[in-house]
């Protein structure tokens, strides 16, 4: 026999380091021995664990990779989408000769593009008309990328004057809408064009579902003949340029600001070529990531359940380890190493699918996307998903492992070792808490909007607590209810609350996914109803833009003269940009995300003597009708709160190149739901009247007279554009369908994850079901009767889970619609009914599959074993 000496200590290594190394090395050895058996068993005991982890990680990785690919695509095509290295945009006016000279002198190539909305009419069919997105280009267009047309010819050829007519290139759908072909003549303003080709691809246009009209591409030289260039018209002048290679764009911007500080243009570089698209991608990423995290959270419950089941099967081994002298923390390490190793398997599977999945998706539908995504693997979202996966598998495994470590080795002296029902020690409870905190921190840190991330984390904790509370209420209620006389009901009721009942497991696992689904379905349903039903009822039929001051009188008469019109409103307007808040430059001001819309670009401004009827002055007083003092404004109270300013503070605007600083005279609460004209910023008389402004108008009209109204408003006034609200709302509804399909599709994963966890919960109590069924059979219960008990039990559980989830989901949906979206709320009973049907069906089906197997077991086998 060998001597019983402990391992000798190599010199120079501290004792603690040696003990630490020995401890971990032993833990790894023993963990691997257990894992070896699991692998040879094809990880049968860990399938629920792996599926849960895989689903969550794959969703987060896929959403992150999709977002990264699209953002990279946006950045790669930045110059193309922008139409140059730099784009300088002015509203209502062109750059001055001096400014143009500077731009030309400091660039490699220079181009001017003019954009506006206008009404186009076929020359030969006077009853048809359509609003178009007019784009007038010079000969240098496009500076970057290629415009492809059908037929393909040089753009200058297509647009030049031939036989007395300028050419136009249009979107194919305009031809379909107006019943025209290439070669037909079309009128825009006062000018007549000949359609020479259709646009196939336009390098500087981001495809969008939501657009006011099809493209109408003409030469700048032809624009004067249209007579659309009127003072104050909503015209956007783009001055684009390319820089000599190696020029630092930021430095160039700084030099420009120094050379021409008061130009008032919006300057964009290739890094922010399409900010709206970028914002859209970021928002979608945020919400889809939250759904992915919910999948992981639901999966986390599955992880806890799966680890608990695994350890319950190993409780004798754990007790034996302890009996043979393994301390509790060594046992904890042995099983945590196993969970982390298997977690790594699930995480790797998840990031592989999450990373490769989007590439496959792009190869299938890449052409249909608004921007061309960049293919490849993106390490950052994959690492983040892996981080979430490993952290959640660790956090959700601490509790069951530490609980299992509490097993008393003395239990080995008993014939049957009971599953562990006690919680872990305080140390491990603290570790779990730290894990949850780290998960929440990672969630908040990685979100592109902290505000929503805080709400998500808080909401998740609250929802889980409510579901757990709901489950406790159900169990307590079932225990306290007088047992019914009917044996079937009595057994089903007892099964809901007896020790070890699946009630909390099922309610929490299915409930979380269902709550998310109900909330999303209700929010989506409300938005849909808002856009397709409520808004069309309240909204005017038309908005008219670019009404010149000298056209006002005749325009009003023409529109209100059409029989059946009502609610006509008209206000003056011009656009300007907020450049300073209380004297601080906007770029340096700390503006919260919910108020940034006001500082993002040019805002519609107006001036008025009277307060708009639908808004209420909540601070300060409205100015007298004959006010003629220094610039004074009335500001939306919500915006004032966001900006952190109050009465007496100032806002500085750039309006047509002029800086105007105005003092806040009063604050208004605006009812945006009224759909009447209102403005966040209204100037007092005496400041803007001298500027070149136009009027906008709105009118209500029945669908049957819409054509007549459009004709009356635009035929005599070629420069005025009529926006059909119904068309815009339909476009918005169409866009919503796409977005909601993506969100609902991802949200359905929470239900799949919930169903997997549910399967785990039901599987974990399968043995008990088998035993019960055997005893019932021996005592004379028919198979039908036993099935009836289980059917009733699972049906009740499904119904209760559905009711609890629907309640929490409804409150969540209501809160989001009312307080986050500031929209009207309607309870949609059908959505809740579908939820209940889904819930009862899934739970009853899963339960019955397990029960059916239990009923098929021979009683004799189990009784002998016992």
């Amino acid at each position: 026999m060998h001597s019983s000496t402990p391992s000798s200590r190599p010199s120079g290594i501290p004792t603690w380091a040696l003990a630490w190394t020995r401890d971990w090395s032993l833990a790894w050895t023993l963990a691997w021995r257990e894992l070896r058996a699991e692998f040879s068993n094809r990880l049968r005991g860990f399938r629920i664990f792996l599926i849960c982890l895989f689903l969550g990680v794959a969703t987060i990785a896929a959403v992150g990779s999709l977002s990264a690919a699209l953002t990279a695509g946006l950045e790669a095509d930045g110059a193309k989408l922008l139409g140059g290295d730099i784009d300088l945009r002015l509203l209502h006016r062109q750059a001055s000769a001096e400014q143009k000279a500077y731009l030309k002198a400091n660039s490699q190539a220079y181009s001017e593009v003019i954009k506006m909305r206008a009404m186009a009419r076929p020359v030969d069919q006077r009853d048809k008309r359509a609003m178009v997105e007019l784009k007038a280009v010079d000969q240098a267009y496009p500076l970057i990328g290629d415009l492809t047309t059908k037929p393909q010819r040089p753009l200058t050829d297509l647009l030049r004057k031939q036989n007395g007519l300028f050419g136009v290139v249009v979107d194919g759908n305009l031809l379909a809408r107006l019943g025209l072909d290439v070669g037909a003549r079309i009128k825009l303003g006062a000018a007549t064009y000949q359609i020479r080709a259709t646009v196939v691809t336009e390098p500087d246009r981001v495809a969008s579902v939501f657009s006011f009209g099809p493209r109408f591409l003409v030469s700048t030289a032809s624009l004067a003949a249209t007579e659309l260039i009127q003072p104050g018209s909503q015209i956007r002048y783009h001055h684009r340029l390319t820089l000599t290679p190696g020029t630092d764009q930021e430095q160039w911007k700084n030099d420009l600001a120094t050379a021409l500080p008061k130009a008032g243009w919006r300057v964009r570089t290739t890094t922010d070529a399409a900010p709206n698209v970028r914002r859209f991608i970021e928002r979608m990423t945020l919400f889809l990531s939250f759904v992915g995290l919910t999948v992981l959270l639901v999966g986390g419950l599955g992880i806890t359940g799966a680890v608990k089941s695994y350890l319950n099967a190993r409780i004798a081994s754990i007790a034996t380890f302890k009996c043979l002298g393994a301390p509790g923390d060594l046992v904890f390490k042995i099983y945590m190493i196993q969970i982390l190793t298997l977690g790594l398997v699930g995480v790797i599977g998840g990031i592989v699918i999450g990373g490769v999945g989007p590439m496959i998706l792009f190869s299938l539908i890449g052409e249909q996307l608004p921007i061309q995504p960049v293919g490849g693997l993106f390490p950052t979202p994959l690492l983040l998903a892996a981080g979430f996966g490993l952290l959640s598998s660790t956090t959700f495994a601490i509790w069951p492992i530490a609980s299992a470590c509490q097993v008393k080795p003395a239990s080995l002296f008993r014939s049957k070792i009971a599953p562990i029902n006690t919680g872990p020690t305080w140390t491990y409870r603290i570790y779990t808490g730290v894990g949850v905190l780290l998960l929440a921190t990672l969630c908040i840190w990685s979100a592109n909007d902290r505000f929503f991330a805080y709400w998500f984390v808080g909401g998740s904790v609250l929802t889980l607590s409510l579901l757990r509370f709901g489950a406790a209420l159900v169990m307590r209620g079932a225990a306290r209810l007088t047992p019914p006389a009917n044996a079937l009901w009595r057994l089903a009721q007892a099964n809901l609350h007896r020790p070890g009942a699946a009630t909390p497991g099922i309610i929490v696992s299915m409930g979380l996914g269902l709550t998310v689904l109900v909330a999303i379905a209700l929010i989506e349903g409300n938005l849909k109803q808002q856009i397709s039903e409520r808004l069309p009822d309240k909204a005017p039929a038309f908005f008219f833009v670019d009404i010149q001051p000298d056209q006002v009188e005749t325009f009003d008469k023409a529109v209100t003269g059409v029989d059946g019109t009502s609610g006509f409103q008209r206000v003056p307007t011009l656009r300007g940009r907020i450049i300073k808040i209380a004297g601080i430059a906007v770029e340096k001001a700390n503006v919260p995300s919910e108020s940034q819309w006001a500082t993002r670009g040019d805002r519609a401004l107006t001036f008025a003597t009277e307060k708009p009827r639908q808004s209420k002055v909540v601070k300060g007083t409205w100015w007298p009708a004959d006010y003629q003092g220094p610039p004074l404004i009335s500001l939306d109270a919500g915006l004032a709160r966001g900006f952190g300013i109050d009465l007496g503070d100032t806002l500085t605007f750039n309006i047509l190149g002029r800086e105007i600083t105005a003092t806040i005279g009063n604050l208004r609460e605006i009812n945006w739901h009224s759909l009447r004209f209102d403005f966040a910023i209204i100037f007092a008389p005496g400041t803007l009247e001298g500027a070149p402004f136009t009027h906008i108008a709105a009118v209500e009209a029945d669908r049957t007279i819409e054509d007549a109204v459009e004709k009356a408003a635009t035929d005599p006034f070629p420069n005025i554009s009529a926006i059909r609200v119904r068309d815009a709302l339909e476009a918005a509804a169409k866009m919503l369908v796409g977005i909601s399909a993506a969100i609902t599709g991802t949200a359905a994963l929470t239900i799949i994850a919930g169903a997997v966890v549910l399967a785990g919960v039901i599987a974990s109590e399968h043995q008990r079901r088998v035993y019960d069924a055997v005893v019932f059979k021996v005592l004379g219960a028919s198979r039908r009767r036993i099935l009836g008990v289980y059917l009733l039990e699972y049906g009740l559980l499904g119904l209760l889970t559905g009711v609890i989830s629907a309640s929490i989901g409804t409150v969540t949906g209501w809160a989001v619609v009312r307080f986050l979206m500031h929209a009207e709320w309607a309870f949609l009973g059908d959505v809740v009914a579908y939820t209940l049907i889904i819930c009862v069906s899934v739970i009853v089906t899963a339960g019955l599959i397990s029960t059916w197997q239990a009923l098929g077991q021979k009683a004799s086998v189990h009784l002998r074993n016992e």
Binding site: H2, P6, S7, L30, L324, G325
Partner: protein, 228 residues
């Protein structure tokens, strides 16, 4: 405190064990006094529910005595905390169970090596192999418990219990799950190993003939020593 050769290896003084149940406290041990010397073999007999197994648990530090003192291998184990008790078992106690309690995911060799690995002993596997050879299972070293018969599993359990050459060996009905012939083989092996290692053995059994093979018989009844 170092243990002199003349000191008893195990001394129980007025040991009580009360367990709480829904129906109120249950008095399992009611004042046990027992001294055991080095190398002694003791057969503990008594009717079911008399407290035999509980006595083993108290000696192993698996169930804390609610009264009295238990001095084992020179330590008063009633004063030790959970971690110290684990070390105490690792260094001084071997246990053989009626249900073997081998780790099903580990081979026979790995099961035997476990206590040596926990104790950080060198050459754990070589020594475990020697112990397996000693119980006649050298050729079954790579077999898993599921591939062994009941008798073979109990042999592995014996090899594991003796692997760290403990000062005290506790055996709880080691033949209770085996047929008579196999049971006899196991008992012979147990006594052989005990003699070879020189360990002190306390054997709980229902069978008077097995107890009779021990040097001393202690009879337990109603939680008390009824005969020694």
């Amino acid at each position: 405190m170092p243990l002199a050769p003349s000191d008893p290896i195990l001394a129980l003084t007025d040991v009580h064990l009360d367990l709480n149940s829904d129906a109120g406290p249950v008095h399992i041990l009611r004042g046990i006094d027992l001294e055991v010397n080095h190398g002694e073999t003791i057969g503990v007999i008594g009717p079911s529910g008399s407290g035999k197994t509980s006595l083993l648990m108290v000696i192993a530090g698996l169930e804390p005595a609610t009264g009295g003192t238990v001095t084992a291998a020179g330590q008063d184990i009633t004063t030790l905390d959970e971690v110290q008790l684990t070390r105490f078992r690792r260094d001084h106690v071997g246990i053989v169970f009626q249900s073997f309690h081998l780790v099903p995911t580990m081979s026979a060799l790995e099961n035997v090596a476990l206590p040596l690995e926990f104790a950080g002993k060198e050459h754990a596997f070589e020594r475990a192999r020697d112990h397996l050879e000693a119980v006649g299972l050298g050729k079954r070293a790579k077999h898993y418990p599921g591939q062994l018969s009941g008798g073979e599993q109990q042999r592995v359990a014996l090899a594991r219990a003796f692997a760290a050459e403990p000062a005290i060996l506790l055996a709880d009905e080691p033949t209770g799950s085996l047929d008579q012939d196999t049971g006899h083989e196991i008992m012979s092996l147990l006594f052989d190993l005990q003699a070879r290692v020189g360990t002190t053995m306390i054997l709980v059994t229902h069978a008077p003939d097995l107890a009779g093979r021990c040097g001393r018989i202690v009879k337990i009844a109603d939680g008390r020593v009824a005969g020694d």
